[in-house]
Symmetry: C2
Subunit: 552 residues, 2 copies
């Protein structure tokens, strides 16, 4: 029953000044205006809601003006052929919101307190921020094309514009089904123990009581903290008691939290060069000034690097398995770094992201476990050992920092979801994590060797893959002085993700390389990927040569 009526919109209401005028004038005219209002919107919506919307729109659009009288509920109900209760409820709601005032006996009016000028559109010339103001005001129902990032200082803050300019990875809008070969950072999700995890999930949910649905602790679920402490003491030679473990929503949040708790805007941080972009973005986003320090065969350069950065408050390292080069930081460097932190009264962030996947030898012990000064903040994640969309990681901080970190976490986003924490606690405590890592290690050993062989065979004239001793990616050095960016661009155009090493370095590299994840891909996917690379690179070489010829 669509009710767009044909009666003309009256004009008498435009000269209203106050309530009394309005009442006198509006007694008939405005009631007519109300009765002429058509009901818009979805005709399947409840009638009460449609009437409400029609009246509210008319008031906001000043088709009904302050002081205008509304018809009695009886009169209006009759005209719309609805029950009088429906209209009474609509009026009650509009009254509660301040759009109308007065009562049934004395008459109901559009509220006079509506500011007269609030609905007059500003001329376009007065609109300061075109990008913001130009957005269609009401017609937002239809999905339009994506807007560009706002960059004007008048709309985003400088901090906001900085945050919006930072890259964590290509994860912003990953719409591809399954990870592309050879994307970094994705574990062998095809080998994840779905059934087992599902069983633990169902069991935990059945046990969940009201207290576990309520707010939890900012530090994390206590049994999970214990399980993690126990695990890293054994597997990573971390020295800690359970209280030092703080659950976070992945390593990315750990970086943000460390930056905000330990650094002020403008503070200096040493980072490995080349190094992990997600970490850099978190620290830059929190206002830190980053100083890239070169990594050599022993790890980050402490004696002639870190030690010469004036006022550095923190150094971030990946000592057990450097990202992206895979270097193990030597004991000498570790000790030098610990000594630096103690002398400089500074902190060390140890990002221990994938060192449990060590194929040759047992996992190397953590830097944290060697630290007698309490200067190391250790970051671990389950994105690599389990799965990324779980969004669980942890921090192990010196005892004196535990409360500060927990309180800061509460201010940021309170705590991580409780159910996942409980399931993960069971998974670790019942020994599944250790078994899972062992299984994955075997798979990765095989996949690493397989990818190396396929690369040698298929694209050996372009890259020279080096052996990875741990982790989930290998480094393929570009042969013959080629550009890693160019090879990565050609690969990308062919649907293959390979990260150019130069993209993670701030100094000019002696030799380019491509970083290629092997963990998530079976032989077939790898074979297809390497074939695509071969085609892309052979074609690219031809193109480049041809264009070079043309330009001569």
């Amino acid at each position: 029953m669509e009710m767009a009526r044909t009666r003309k919109h009256h004009k008498a209401s435009s000269s209203v000044r106050g309530r009394e005028d309005g009442r006198r004038r509006g007694a008939l005219a405005a009631s007519d205006a109300v009765l002429s209002i058509g009901l818009e919107g979805d005709s399947r919506a409840p009638l009460q809601r449609r009437i409400y919307h029609a009246l509210r729109s008319a008031i906001l659009a000043r088709r009904l003006r302050p002081g205008d009288r509304l018809p009695s509920s009886r009169q209006y109900a009759e005209s719309l052929e609805v029950s009088r209760t429906t209209i009474a409820l609509v009026y009650e709601q509009l009254r509660a919101e301040g759009y109308i005032e007065g009562r049934e006996r004395s008459g109901t009016f559009v509220a006079t307190a509506l500011p007269d000028d609030s609905l007059v559109a500003l001329p376009a010339s007065q609109r300061a921020v075109a990008t913001v103001k130009s957005r269609p005001a009401i017609t937002r129902a239809a999905p339009g094309p994506k807007s560009p990032v706002v960059s004007g200082a008048a709309s985003l803050s400088a901090r906001g514009a900085l945050l919006a300019s930072l890259d964590v990875s290509s994860s912003i809008s990953s719409t591809v089904v399954g990870p592309r070969a050879f994307r970094l950072g994705t574990p062998a999700l095809d080998a994840f123990p779905y059934t087992l995890w599902g069983r633990l999930l169902a069991r935990r949910w059945r046990q969940f009581s009201a207290s576990q649905l309520a707010y939890g602790s900012a530090n994390g679920f206590a049994p999970l903290r214990s399980a993690i402490a126990e695990h890293v003491r054994t597997a990573r030679a971390v020295t800690c008691h359970d209280d030092q473990v703080l659950i976070v929503s992945g390593a990315q949040q750990a970086f943000d939290l460390v930056a905000r708790v330990l650094l002020d805007p403008g503070d200096t941080v040493c980072v490995e060069d080349p190094g992990y972009r997600g970490l850099r973005s978190a620290f830059e986003g929190a206002g830190a000034r980053l100083v890239p320090v070169t990594v050599d065969a022993e790890g980050i350069d402490v004696a002639t690097g870190v030690a010469f950065v004036p006022g550095a408050r923190l150094t971030c390292v990946t000592p057990s398995h450097q990202f992206p080069l895979g270097i193990t930081m030597s004991a000498a460097r570790r000790l030098a770094l610990l000594q630096w932190a103690d002398n400089a009264n500074a902190w060390i962030l140890e990002d221990d992201f994938d060192s449990e996947y060590r194929f040759r030898g047992r996992p190397l012990p953590s830097l944290q476990g060697m630290d007698p000064h309490g200067r190391v903040v250790y970051v671990g994640t389950f994105s690599k050992t389990l799965f990324p969309s779980l969004r669980l990681g942890f921090l192990i901080v010196p005892t004196v920092l535990v409360d500060a970190f927990a309180r800061a976490r509460a201010v940021l986003d309170r705590h991580s979801p409780q159910l996942e924490q409980a399931v993960l606690a069971d998974f670790i405590a019942e020994g599944h994590l250790v078994r899972h890592i062992r299984r994955m290690r075997a798979i990765y050993t095989e996949r690493e060797a397989r990818l190396r062989a396929l690369l040698h065979e298929g694209v050996g004239e372009f890259v020279e893959p080096s052996q990875a001793d741990a982790g989930m990616h290998l480094v393929a050095w570009v042969t013959g002085g080629g550009s890693d960016r160019r090879l990565a661009d050609l690969a990308d155009a062919a649907g293959i993700a390979v990260a150019p090493l130069s993209g993670l370095a701030s100094h000019r590299l002696a030799r380019g390389a491509l970083l290629m994840g092997f963990a998530a891909f079976d032989e077939q996917a790898m074979r297809r990927g390497v074939e695509s690379l071969r085609t892309a690179w052979l074609g690219g070489r031809g193109d480049a040569f041809a264009s070079h010829e043309r330009h001569r």
Copy 2:
């Protein structure tokens, strides 16, 4: 088999200078030293790990010095009565970490590159940050008492110290089983549809594929964004398309994100006074300067409040149901605020935390839906409509801000866990959310009336409860000029949580009040709670009188 041996620790190694000296001298002596090392730690741990730890500890503690020769693996294996492979693996690992160097044929030595001074303890006088340095270095295995929050500028940053000083609520270390009466913010968890949620959870997990275990989109799970957009368009009169919805880990993260994307440190923000502490903490923690603006019977004071705050970039409001007073912001104020934002080129944050629980009339429409200028950022949460430990909420932002928010979110913590998002999407899309809210509304209507009646009856001489039209708490005004803080303290001592209104206000209130949650408590819990209050307050009154008498 514990192997603490009795041979004396030799002293010859203390004058070593270089590798050659060490080799010559160490050839016998250091080997002896190694053979004399006892194996510490858990005797159930694998022997290989225990030997490794013993050697590493000896090197770090300089019982073995740079250049010291290690026994051959055969010799050492015999002395420990273990297999030679075990020792070979230990040596391999220590070599990989840089603790030892050389090979089997030419001899294995403690690495000379260990810096000589790295392990000398500093005298206590040189230790700058006593709170940090005084932590026991290695003996952290036993859980000790909680350390105080670090506050020195040398350890925490100024920002970190600020963050650590902020309160979100009492959620930091909630160890009480089940929420205490009459704690704020907890819904009726006893009436949560466990079985239904568990069914959706199990179904989603069964459907989960590798691509859903991988990193997701920073904006959130697309079907959840659609479901929320659809829900708020209908239930909250929000005007948006699906793309404007961003999933966050609860309202607290939304506040932090808004502060970091839209404000620079030092920017001015108007907040309601009295108002929500979690919001204030998020903005203070992000460096904003807060200006509390008084709330009257129509909501926040725009004309003589907000409009007179120089340079305000943002105003935060709870227009549909003011926290904590329960006021509905009038249409006039809404329009004035929208106009202010447009004129001032500023933003409005609409925190719509519990307005779906409106007992009288339909839920009031959002401020966002009235905004023709694209100046409102709308925040919603499922902590109240579902359960807090789910940690899911959402932001609805003007189209031009979507990408900036998504990118910033990725830098903060990438995205929210995927499984919960998928389950929630189903819960909403299949109509369960609307049904659940309807059920809760009925329960809350009853519980609100019940608590009011019990308060009148039991502690009517202390407080005068006012009727709540919506939400999950009521305001009980203190009678006879009493102090709300004092009543709250007495209640707290008796195990009852009531929040004093004065604790949420920065100006002096004409009259104190207590905020009491009613949603999470059945009649029995309420009755017990009110009885405890009565006893505590009657006793407190007596005490106060007695002490007053004594002091006369």
